[in-house]
């Protein structure tokens, strides 16, 4: 009774002994729940790789470029269509593979987070496509003109970014760090030797672009096969010429692309490679053996180009996990990593949209037919 009389009134009539212990227990339970939440959110794990830390690494490597994609920052928008041959329909129930025509909103870009870099032949080129079939089952894919990806994990990608970021003192990557990175990532050393051996063409329109990651096609019967895909140019091969197309044109690759599209529509065949049971689907640094069955799924035609400042690709995140029913992700961990990092990059540039300076390839430049 005495004990109860000393209790604050808000403890109620049923106040009990050992109040301190009981309050302590409640506090402990609540702190534990809050701690679990903080742990899940990554606040207690400074070494956990999060989308924010990935973005910070891009900033370390490339500096701050407000309003631009954090990777593949320099690009132009294109539109066109995909004419399906119907040949992939037996392997995937995706609407996009039914015989017929599907609109496309795409983007050509150069790898790296520098939106104003000068076009250089060896810079990795990319083609991103958004297929928009009726019924909303859209498909987005981003492909590069390299045979394999240089890393096979999010951690590898992050460490590569940091290892090759310019040292503030010299403006060049620190050789000690790049050496340490190569020693820790033999898969990257092997992949880079394949990448260096690739045949570099004269421009975007005669480049082959590869999905690099593996996916799975699911058909109407529920059968699943591992696949990788490529867009293979219909335009004839032309090697990279020693003389630059226009001296001093920082946008030479993009200007050529714009001029060629203006001349006549440019085309790629969508080639799907069907993997076999033992082919690696979880490691994008490994090529699949030659001689795998390939299907010509149809033709991508690009007939319009537009600057990012006015084009339809700008407000699009080419997230590799935006897939229609009939295409599923494989066990490749890079797919989740790309999706998560792209989403963060997309959010950041959406937040910065009103501060973004004009893109390197401006609306005027595209209207002038690619001559800056």
């Amino acid at each position: 009774m005495n004990n109860m009389n000393r209790m604050p009134f808000w403890f109620g009539a049923g106040a009990v002994s050992n109040v301190g212990v009981r309050l302590g227990a409640i506090g402990t339970v609540m702190l534990s729940v809050a701690g679990a939440f903080a742990y899940t959110g990554g606040w207690l794990s400074p070494i956990r790789l999060t989308p924010d830390r990935m973005m910070a690494a891009f900033q370390d490597a490339n500096g701050i470029h407000v309003g631009f994609r954090r990777n593949h920052a320099k690009g132009v928008c294109v539109t066109g269509w995909f004419e399906s041959s119907g040949q992939a329909a037996a392997l995937s129930k995706a609407a996009v593979f039914k015989l017929g025509r599907v609109p496309i909103v795409g983007r050509f870009a150069l790898a790296g987070g520098a939106p104003f870099q000068s076009d250089a032949p060896m810079t990795v080129r990319s083609m991103a496509l958004r297929f928009l079939p009726l019924g909303g089952q859209e498909w987005r894919t981003g492909m590069n003109n390299i045979p394999v990806f240089p890393v096979n994990s999010a951690r590898g990608f992050y460490e590569q970014l940091l290892a090759f970021a310019p040292d503030p003192a010299t403006g060049k990557p620190d050789p000690a760090r790049t050496r340490a990175f190569r020693a820790a990532h033999p898969e990257t050393v092997r992949a880079l030797s394949l990448i260096k051996k690739r045949e570099v063409t004269s421009g975007f329109v005669n480049s082959t672009f590869n999905s690099l990651n593996s996916f799975r096609f699911i058909n109407a019967a529920g059968a699943s096969v591992p696949v990788r895909w490529s867009t293979v140019p219909v335009q004839p091969f032309a090697g990279e010429s020693a003389a630059p197309s226009a001296a001093g044109d920082r946008n030479s690759l993009f200007d050529d692309l714009i001029a060629q599209i203006a001349q006549h529509p440019q085309q790629w065949r969508l080639i799907v490679t069907i993997g076999q049971a033992d082919d690696p689907t979880n490691d994008a640094t490994l090529p699949w053996p030659a001689g795998r069955r390939q299907i010509d799924a149809g033709t991508v035609t690009i007939d319009q180009a537009a600057s990012e400042d006015s084009g339809r690709c700008t407000a699009v995140n080419y997230d590799p996990l935006v897939l229609p029913s009939g295409i599923e992700p494989s066990d490749d961990p890079l797919l989740s990593a790309r999706s998560a990092a792209y989403a963060r990059s997309f959010t950041l540039r959406a937040e910065e949209e009103h501060e973004k300076p004009p893109s390197a390839v401006t609306t005027q430049e595209v209207q002038a037919g690619g001559k800056s």
């Binding site: 808000w10 109620g12 609540m30 935006v322 937040e351």
Partner: protein, 177 residues
Amino acid sequence: MITQARFPAASRLLHWMMAPMIVAMLFIGVGMAASVSARYDLLVSIHRPLGIAILVLCVLRMVNRFINPPPELPATLPSLQRFAAKASHILLYALMFIMPLVGWGMLSAARYPIVLYGPLRLPPILPHDLTLYAWLRDLHTALAYLFFATFLAHFGAALFHGVIRRDGVLESMASWR
């Protein structure tokens, strides 16, 4: 003596069905936003349909609240605690209704497909607009933290009623007699 009336069975069922869903949703959300691991895809593909399920159940729950009003709080409860209880319940209802809509809206403004399961997708409810997306995306995060804080307060208050005041309020929802 404890004379506190219990919540009607339908209300208890809805509460205990949604409680683990909402807590899971908060943890999945904060976890996926901090992940680049292979789990990310799985977490996102649970987050979307779970959010829509919470929205549907929340509407049912509001209808149920009109049909089956909750029991009165004990008369002995001080007015400040009474106010806190009322306000936090309004906030919890508002958040469980608004959060899924903000999520659906932000995906719409970004033109991400709103995939529920397999071929099942929801239509966009807002125009394709980057600025609108950025605003809703930030709102989604801010409301999630508010939601977690409100849940924690609700949980702590329930324990306070149960082990300190022992006034039957916890048992009015959490008893299986």
